[in-house]
Symmetry: C2
Subunit: 232 residues, 2 copies
């Protein structure tokens, strides 16, 4: 009998690279799914491809999501490209301005369909609620509700093999995620976090995402392999 | 103040055309979303476009779903194009062979993201559990669980304006759906049900879906406006 299969949500960022390593270390045969949409830079998709290749995943699908789903409507005037480079750092009350409507719900639903069609029992997602505490779709109670809904709405759930949603990073800070990944041998040089990379895909070193990443490596006591475009 | 907005899942079939009419009759400003994937015939998408145009919806998005999400993998060997033309009729135990992994979950998640980004409070879906009783994702308890999950995982839910999922056809038989639509003035000549249309998009009149549709019109006592390719 073969190993258990899992679908990993792989963005190409630091968190999902770590989750991929967790799934592989857990003995799963891994399939990966990556989403391309308004907010994503090509360099991040390319990182996802390289991570999937390096992790020898069984299958990697890249799904385009039309930009008008999340935004870009004349009705709302929201444009994902206008997402602020600063302001996503925690500490303030409420939901961060970088919230994207129902994003994790849509991503998990794709992963669920992909998992069920491939007879995978588990979906891994790199959500965490420590550094960014305000996202409704990064909370444990949301993931529990998603699992319940999925158990009721799928054939495998009705037949007694509901798909589990695993969130191994949920209660970890960025430095703990990096420490975990380093122990598992993640090559963070092929991950991308920057909101505003230069034309060669190098990180700016200054946006919120870069700053959280840098601080994470510092706090973890691990050298930061990121190629920054400017000398920081 | 404007009217309330709703997103209608519009396949181009008889059921979703009826639901569109219900939403319009309910006074909503309607946005429509249609999915194109392996199993869909172009003629059905074209029906969706015509229904949306006729219903003067505010916005209509057509979303491509990669065929490998639901099937078509070398790992499983399932191909949606091989879905049987017969065998979907109710009466047998268990889940119909025409079940597609997590399809309604994915469709509703897209509708949810679209609704939240457009400040719509309601999603309409034409699911019903009378004629096809075995689908897990066409049951009331599933829709309730989806609403709960969505309330926890979206900004609007957390802020106290959770999106409702309306299923006005849930407990209706096909003939009741047709009677309802006829009362609301639905033009069923621009809806499509056939699994196996000819090259001009005309219905075969013989597949399960055609037969259920025909029987529905008969039982409703309403002339069937469907253009059949062969003389039935």
């Amino acid at each position: 009998m073969g190993k258990e299969r899992a679908v990993v949500l792989l963005s190409g960022g630091l968190d999902s690279a770590t989750v991929l390593a967790v799934a592989l270390a857990g003995g799963f045969d891994v399939l990966a799914i990556t989403f391309s949409y308004g907010q994503r830079h090509d360099v991040e998709i390319e990182c996802a491809r390289r991570l999937a290749h390096k992790g020898r995943v069984l299958e990697h699908v890249i799904v385009d999501i039309p930009s008008e789903i999340f935004s870009g409507s004349a009705l709302t005037g929201i444009d994902l490209k206008d997402v602020p480079k600063h302001g996503a750092v925690p500490g303030g009350p409420g939901i961060p301005v970088t919230y994207v409507p129902a994003r994790n719900i849509l991503f998990l639903s794709y992963a669920l369909a992909f998992a069920e069609s491939r007879m995978a029992d588990t979906v891994f997602i790199g959500a965490h609620s420590v550094d960014y505490s305000g996202y409704p779709d990064c909370r444990g109670e949301f993931f529990e509700a998603f699992e319940k809904m999925a158990a009721l709405g799928t054939k495998c759930g009705v037949e007694g093999r509901p798909i589990r949603v695993q969130t191994p990073l949920l209660n970890l800070g960025k430095h703990e995620i990096i420490q975990l990944g380093a122990e598992l041998g993640v090559d963070y040089s092929i991950t991308h976090s920057c909101y505003d990379p230069d034309t060669e895909g190098r990180a700016c070193g200054e946006c919120d995402s870069c700053r959280i990443r840098k601080k994470g490596f510092e706090a973890a006591g691990i050298p930061d392999p990121t190629k920054y475009g400017k000398v920081p």
